[in-house]
């Protein structure tokens, strides 16, 4: 486990914004997104709460070093995804079964275009799909589902825009196949 930096006191950035107030701002803005992100990495509710807590601990700790070279959103997602990736890497048995977007693309998806059965079922299917993916691919699909554009996903993951475009294209194909309609061309 990565050890946390425990500064003890609030550090003040150049702009005079303290670590604590930045953290509060982060929680106000990204609390729901972080909860969804944790759901993409952990199925078990108890373990998910622990993961979410770990993400918040690292976020608070990292904000002491926030230098505004990237947006707060990029910073928050990088930290959150990296902590969650660390969580996946530690689960060796699960990690060995993860696949890539390219592998999923070759699997039959079935027709879910008539999933009037309910949003809950669709969400469950989406979650199953996400949790089968390797960490980097999982980050891309979660970022895509959160509504981010290719440039933002690239900032978080470090992948080139070409790679992101290719991955997003494949994600759209998979989602279209797994969920039928509803995917609007962008």
């Amino acid at each position: 486990m990565t050890t946390l930096f425990v500064g003890g006191t609030e550090s003040i950035s150049d702009e005079g914004v303290s670590q604590d107030s930045l953290y509060r701002q982060t929680v106000d803005t990204f609390s729901s997104s972080l909860d969804r992100l944790a759901r993409a990495y952990e199925l078990d509710p108890e373990a998910r709460r622990d993961l979410l807590q770990e993400i918040h601990l690292h976020l608070w700790s990292s904000l002491a070093h926030f230098d505004r070279r990237c947006s707060l959103r990029t910073w928050v997602y990088r930290v959150a995804h990296n902590v969650a990736t660390g969580h996946v890497i530690r689960q060796r048995r699960i990690r060995s079964k993860l696949v890539s977007i390219e592998d999923i693309e070759t699997l039959p998806g079935g027709d879910w275009s008539e999933f009037a059965a309910g949003q809950a079922e669709a969400l469950q299917r989406l979650s199953v799909l996400i949790r089968r993916l390797k960490p980097l691919d999982r980050q891309i699909i979660v970022s895509y589902l959160e509504g981010m554009d290719a440039a933002s996903i690239g900032e978080i993951t470090g992948l080139s825009s070409g790679n992101i475009a290719m991955k997003v294209h494949r994600i759209k194909n998979i989602l279209r196949r797994w969920f039928g309609g509803g995917l609007h061309a962008e």
Binding site: V6, G8, R36, H56, S62, R78, L126, L183
Partner: protein, 202 residues
Amino acid sequence: MPSDPMNDPRNIWQNQPTEPFHMSTDEIRRKAQQHYTEARMGALLSIAMGLGLCALSAWASARAHETVTRMGWALLSLWCIYFAYQAYRWMWPDRLAPDATVSTSLEFYGRELDRRRDHALHIWRRGGLTFCFLGMAMVVLPPLIQSPAAQRLNALPFFVLLIIWIAAFIVLRKRKRQKIQQEIDELRAYRGDISKNPPPAG
């Protein structure tokens, strides 16, 4: 194709029910402190165990009559110091490097995989296992050789199990390393030129 927004996976994902996060900043700070203290206690325990075993081995070395056995215990004693040092080096909670979790996912994941591959590659050397097994052999084998044949036969299952364990250790380590290397190669491909793997048309 229907375009009902409620059928859009993005809408489904973003509209899922979430739970609010209830910890205050003070609680977060307290938790961080607690994590640090726990990690330090774990490291201290391992260091103390290493030093304790070192003292025990040194004591056994001083009491041994056979030269080879005495050297074996001395070697084990030195290995225990090495173990304590390794526990300090790898387990002691250091301050988090500013870029530990804020780097891009590609860098972070690549670094984690490199670390795991190196660990699998060097675990024998970093664990000082050669000295550990050599010391144990020097302690165990002389009395075993001098003992009657029947007693030597009794020790046979232990040595067979030891050989099986070492063989399994080597095979599993190699398999683990290959798997990690495969993932590292995949990441390298991402860093490479996109033109090698162009996006599909359409």
